[in-house]
């Protein structure tokens, strides 16, 4: 039963990732593009956690932690660049 739920969750997050890619390509404004990139990072973390369950190993949690930090820093720096024209003041 866990296997089928796992496949369902894989399909949902994979479909979400595809929608984010579509939104990155055809965004009406630059804010939507940043938001879509941030959502892609979150979906990638979810996929990594699900892949860890699928393989039965805890090895992937360090990778998802690093991806979470990188995604947060990149989103904040991108928005700050748009706000102030400068990242580190």
């Amino acid at each position: 039963m866990i296997d089928y739920a796992l496949y369902f969750a894989f399909a949902c997050f994979g479909l979400g990732l595809l929608m984010n890619i579509y939104r990155v390509i055809s965004a009406p404004a630059v804010g939507d593009r940043i938001l879509a990139l941030d959502t892609m990072v979150i979906n990638a973390i979810a996929l990594l956690a699900l892949f860890g369950i699928h393989k039965g190993t805890t090895m992937y949690f360090e990778a998802s932690m690093i991806i979470a930090m990188t995604g947060f820093i990149s989103t904040v720096s991108y928005t700050r660049f748009l706000l102030r024209g400068d990242i580190i003041e």
Partner: protein, 131 residues
């Protein structure tokens, strides 16, 4: 058996919420509405997946790992900050300073204050406290 049902329910709920978050990013009409879908629904979806992972490793594999809790805490802390910054960027790029209500002080909204103006006002304030 009960644990399996719990893990499967967590996985299915997390998948649905993740899908709803990404769908809302495409379907909602207004940029400020679109901000809500990923920062709320997708964060909840990831939280569900990580809780399912924690339950799986504790009850099925037999090892307890607290990495998931760390990732969940980090995501739940950073999602509001990200939403705030994206909303501020959107306001900054689409609204003119005249569209916003007055601040109630002699200084403008912080996003529109130029660096030279801010430096001048802060230098004047320091001069006041020193003098």
């Amino acid at each position: 058996m009960l644990v399996e049902i719990l893990i499967a329910a967590c996985l299915v709920i997390s998948g649905i919420f993740g899908l709803v978050g990404s769908l809302g990013l495409i379907k909602l009409p207004d940029p400020m509405m679109r901000l809500h879908a990923p920062t709320k629904a997708t964060t909840l979806g990831v939280g569900g997946a990580l809780i399912a992972s924690m339950l799986y490793f504790y009850f099925v594999v037999g090892t307890f790992s607290f990495h998931e809790l760390m990732i969940t805490l980090f995501l739940f802390l950073t999602a509001p900050i990200t939403g705030h910054f994206v909303a501020k960027t959107h306001l900054h790029l689409t609204r003119k300073p005249g569209d916003l209500p007055p601040t109630g002080s002699d200084r403008p909204w912080a996003s529109y204050e130029s660096d030279a103006e801010r430096a001048r006002i802060e230098a004047a304030a320091e001069g006041d406290t020193a003098g």
